[in-house]
Amino acid sequence: MSQPRTDLWRVVRLSELLANVSGSEQIAGMVVDEFLSHVDAQLGAVATALGAEDASQLLQTAHRFKGSLAAIYAGAALDAARTLEAAAKRRDFPAARAEHISLTERTSELVSHLKDWRAAHPTATKPGKLHG
């Protein structure tokens, strides 16, 4: 049974991602794959910083994860990351811990939706033109 559009829209706005890459499912797929390959490490880095109560590291990792979520046009998870980043700026660890729980749940939901989308939209991996 497919998710109602409003519910999916709350989790991730894939139509906006597609619009921003000229409708290319291939490129949108690459962005989704990149997110999925980094999400565990990024979320783990936030958890580590929070566990160590390292405010500077928490701010940096929360900011990076927020950027990653923004790039994928995440909805609720992005809101949680913003709130967590704001708590990190204030050095408010209790608030940060509470928001981290919310972030983890919403990210899990996001990952699930993205994997479903990916399965429904398999595209050949485009030879990477990223170079440096």
């Binding site: 997110f35 994928i72 440096g132």
Partner: protein
């Protein structure tokens, strides 16, 4: 077949990998994309690849985007590469800081593809114009250097042909000042077989090398006719006739020639287009004018010419000048004018000093400014 247009390259610097992938997706249809993971990496890759534009995230580890922007600007030589900063925060202080440190524009996350592409295309169009201007400047400089070499060679040839304008003759004083490296004015002095001097002053229309080249046939014909002892009228008609066949349309010369007849008492003056020649009497302050009564030379062949005559005595001085003297302007733009010349030449001053007086007045008037070649010649009658 037209050469395919080379794709421009954009360097994208963001420490966040998903954002980098998204930006690649946004840009790759229009540009080749190079990625960097932080500000320091961006600066190094700028030096290595010299991309056409940079897109730098503000907040990056190791080196932030504003600092990277500053460093790239310091590394630039002749070019100015477009730099756009990215930020999640639309913060006035941040924007002002970024622009002050060399950024050309800002975009805010989440990045809008159309806005980003429009900004990059506008900035790159400006860069393209600057690159074109720089290339044209290089070509102009090369052309300027080549022209300078040609002028040097031409100048040497002209010097050899014309020799010194003022002959070392005690009766002649002269002021010759070319507006630029080449003089379209010429003063020629030749000794006739009779032993008298014939003097010719010419002002070829325009100035610079074309005008200077026009003086060559005039000089050759003048000396040739003088050597043959040709009568003044016949000489100027012959010079004019030959010039009409030599000079291109649009190139001609105002000229005057004069000589004292073998009796030593009759001055003969032919004026074809230069300002009045002025004869200052030795024992009075009278001036006798010899206005132009002939067409300038090189325009049309003539069958006859008009030569004025006047009785002279030793010590009288004849002044001939090109219009560069009359039209010399001061700082207010006022011309020196014929009235000023007459005023100086009728001063109660020793005759031998009048040339220096007129020259000093003229140079003081112009204060180094010069819009035309200047020639002033004074011939003292009876000095040999």
């Amino acid at each position: 077949m037209d050469k395919p247009k080379k794709r421009m390259t954009v360097l994208v610097a963001d420490d966040e990998p998903v954002t980098r992938m998204l930006l690649f997706g946004v840009l790759e249809q229009a540009f080749d994309v190079i990625h960097a993971i932080d500000g320091q990496d961006a600066v190094e890759k700028y030096q290595k690849h010299r991309p056409d534009a940079l897109l730098l995230d503000v907040q990056m580890p190791l080196m932030d985007g504003c600092t990277a922007c500053e460093q790239v600007r310091a590394l630039e030589q002749d070019e100015r590469v477009p730099i756009v900063l990215m930020s999640a925060q639309n913060d006035e202080a941040l924007v002002l800081d970024g622009l002050a440190r060399g950024a050309d524009d800002f975009v805010f996350k989440p990045i809008n593809q159309r806005v980003l592409l429009s900004k990059l295309r506008a900035l790159l169009a400006g860069k393209s114009s600057r690159d074109t201007i720089a290339a044209q400047r290089e070509r102009l400089l090369a052309l300027q250097q080549e022209t300078a070499r040609e002028h040097f060679a031409a100048s040497a040839v002209l010097r050899n042909i014309l020799g010194r304008a003022e002959v070392d003759h005690p009766s002649i004083r002269s002021l010759m000042a070319a507006m630029n490296g080449f003089d379209g004015d010429v003063a020629l002095v030749a000794k006739l077989p009779s032993g008298n001097l014939r003097v010719m002053v010419c002002d070829v229309v325009g100035h610079g090398l074309p005008a200077a080249l026009g003086t060559i046939p005039i000089a050759v014909l003048f000396y040739s006719s003088a050597r043959q002892g040709m009568e003044l009228g016949n000489a100027v008609l012959e010079i004019n006739r030959q010039l009409c066949g030599v000079l291109p349309v649009g190139l001609f010369a105002a000229a005057a020639a004069f000589e004292v007849a073998p009796d030593g008492r009759t001055l003969r003056v032919w004026n074809a287009g230069i300002p009045d020649l002025l004869l200052r009497r030795a024992h009075t302050r009278d001036l006798v004018s010899f206005p132009s009564e002939n067409l300038p030379i090189g325009i049309a062949e003539q069958e006859t010419c008009t030569i004025a005559q006047a009785e002279v005595c030793a010590g009288d001085v004849l002044f001939a000048m090109s219009d560069g003297v009359i039209e010399a302007r001061n700082v207010d733009g006022t011309m020196f004018g014929m009235e000023r010349v007459r005023s100086v030449l009728t001063m109660d001053r020793p005759i031998p000093e009048l040339f220096d007086d007129l020259r000093s007045e003229l140079l003081h008037w112009a204060q180094g400014r010069q819009d035309d070649d200047i020639t002033l010649v004074a011939h003292t009658i009876g000095v040999s």
